[in-house]
């Protein structure tokens, strides 16, 4: 089976890779590009641990083929911090103890970032609906919701 050549943009960098036709974007990120932040929780789009942002929309990278990334713009958790300076969402997750085992955290952060990109001051209800596709078995979600609210508030303050 011959490989497919893909040119794409990941976290602002031009990236080229070869992949198989049936290989998911998640597998490409983890196994070919060494970007291990996105996790495989279920592999069927139910848990959100593999969330990445493709052309501005948060998606499950386990439900995207690697070949589909051709010409697209992809954001992963590895591009979230600015060097050693954490994104406000990352900082607030730590401050609010919004993670325990951490497996779901990259997915929550990418989904929350996508939310704040389109809605700078979401209500608690909007946050809970938006993040319904991200499963966490440790925290009980309350701390995650509070971290997102706090990050949104801080980011709004920075804009003002």
């Amino acid at each position: 089976m011959s490989s497919i050549a893909v040119s794409t943009t990941i976290n602002g960098d031009d990236v080229e890779y070869l992949c198989q036709a049936d290989e998911t974007l998640l597998d490409v990120l983890r196994n070919r590009l060494g970007l291990m932040g996105a996790k495989e929780g279920c592999g069927t789009g139910d848990c959100g641990a593999c969330s990445a942002i493709v052309d501005g929309r948060v998606v499950c990278s386990c439900l995207v083929l690697g070949a589909e990334a051709q010409g697209r713009t992809i954001e992963t958790i590895e591009g979230m911090a600015n060097g050693s300076e954490l994104h406000p969402l990352q900082r607030k997750f730590i401050e609010h103890a919004a993670l325990q085992c951490g497996i779901c955290t990259p997915g929550f952060l990418m989904a929350a970032k996508a939310l704040l990109d389109v809605n700078s001051s979401p209500t608690e209800e909007e946050i809970r609906y938006w993040l319904a596709g991200n499963l966490c078995r440790c925290t009980g979600y309350d701390k995650i919701v509070r971290a997102v609210q706090d990050a949104a508030q801080e980011m709004q303050g920075e804009r003002a």
Binding site: T44, R57, C60, L63, V64, L65, E68, A132, G133, N134
Partner: protein, 286 residues
């Protein structure tokens, strides 16, 4: 498995028609990639239609909305004209899965997946939507309810794929609604789904009605007796009682872990009544 990304409809239909074995169309992939994970999945070819011009567009013509086959459901809610004209369709499409799924999943895919519990399908059927089908011998257009033939089965011939959903204009005095019952508030599959579209005259009298019931049969049930029972009324309580009873009577659900036959029939009536009220108000009735 081969992956192809044609740039024209002709190339896509030729690829699909020329496949020796199983071939699949890839738009959002939220059903297809899940199937690909299973051990018994076998495909010679996947045809990604997203590089074909127009597949990702929502176009408004004087008499219809034309929704490209690769438009993700999330994009429907971002189109203000579509939301204003067809709030029921948009709400139904945005009940499918999570934010992540909505960023990829499409109504054409929901239709072709042919699940009895598909959320967008009853709403599209209620709206008298049509599927524009491209094939090796040209284009044909059929009512969307003619696509699913049973769980996982469609009427599409080899080489054919849906290129767009066409939702005809229903006039200013029309409104639609979709409601479903699920045990959870989100990330769940309909136990019953109900789409209603009503058109009124200037006095608020129902001129036409269409009720489509999901998850109460192998394919969407078009409840004609129920629709007939409210034509000529202003949707008073007696009319709604008759409508709900006819909706329950038209339902032929199965018993499964998500709901019993008795429960589903009851809920079909309850949701039909509520959805009709919403559609009536949206159509300008009081």
């Amino acid at each position: 498995m081969r992956y192809e990304r044609p740039e024209t409809i002709q190339d896509a239909t030729a690829l699909l028609a020329g496949a020796r074995d199983k071939a699949f169309v890839l738009a959002g992939g939220t059903d297809l990639l899940v199937r690909m994970q299973s051990d018994d999945f076998d495909a010679e070819l996947v045809v990604d239609i997203k590089s074909i011009a127009g597949m990702g567009d929502i176009v408004r013509t004087p008499d219809a909305f034309i929704i490209g086959a690769a438009v993700p459901c999330a994009a429907l809610a971002e189109n203000e004209a579509l939301v204003a004209a067809w709030p029921g369709i948009v709400e139904a499409a945005n009940l499918i899965g999570s934010t992540q799924i909505q960023g990829r999943c499409t109504m054409s895919g929901n239709l072709c997946n042919a699940s009895p519990a598909a959320d967008s399908v009853p709403a599209l059927v209620a709206a008298s939507a049509q599927a524009k089908i491209a094939g090796p011998n040209g284009t044909r257009t059929v009512p969307v309810e003619q696509i699913p033939q049973g769980p996982g089965k469609t009427s599409l011939e080899k080489g054919e794929f849906i290129e767009a959903i066409v939702v005809p204009d229903a006039g200013a005095q029309a409104g639609d609604a979709y409601l479903r019952f699920t045990p959870r508030t989100e990330m769940d599959i309909a136990v019953v789904g109900v789409g209603v579209c009503l058109a009124l005259d200037a006095e608020g009298v129902v001129q036409s009605a269409r009720l489509a019931l999901g998850a109460v049969g192998p394919t969407v049930v078009i409840a004609q007796d129920a629709s007939a029972s409210i034509i000529g009324t202003k949707l008073d309580d007696a009319a709604l009682d008759a409508f709900a009873a006819a909706a329950s009577a038209a339902s032929h659900p199965i018993d499964d872990k998500r709901g019993t036959v008795e429960f589903r029939k009851e809920v079909a009536g309850v949701l039909a009544r509520r959805a009709a009220r919403i559609a009536y108000t949206r159509a300008g009735g009081n």
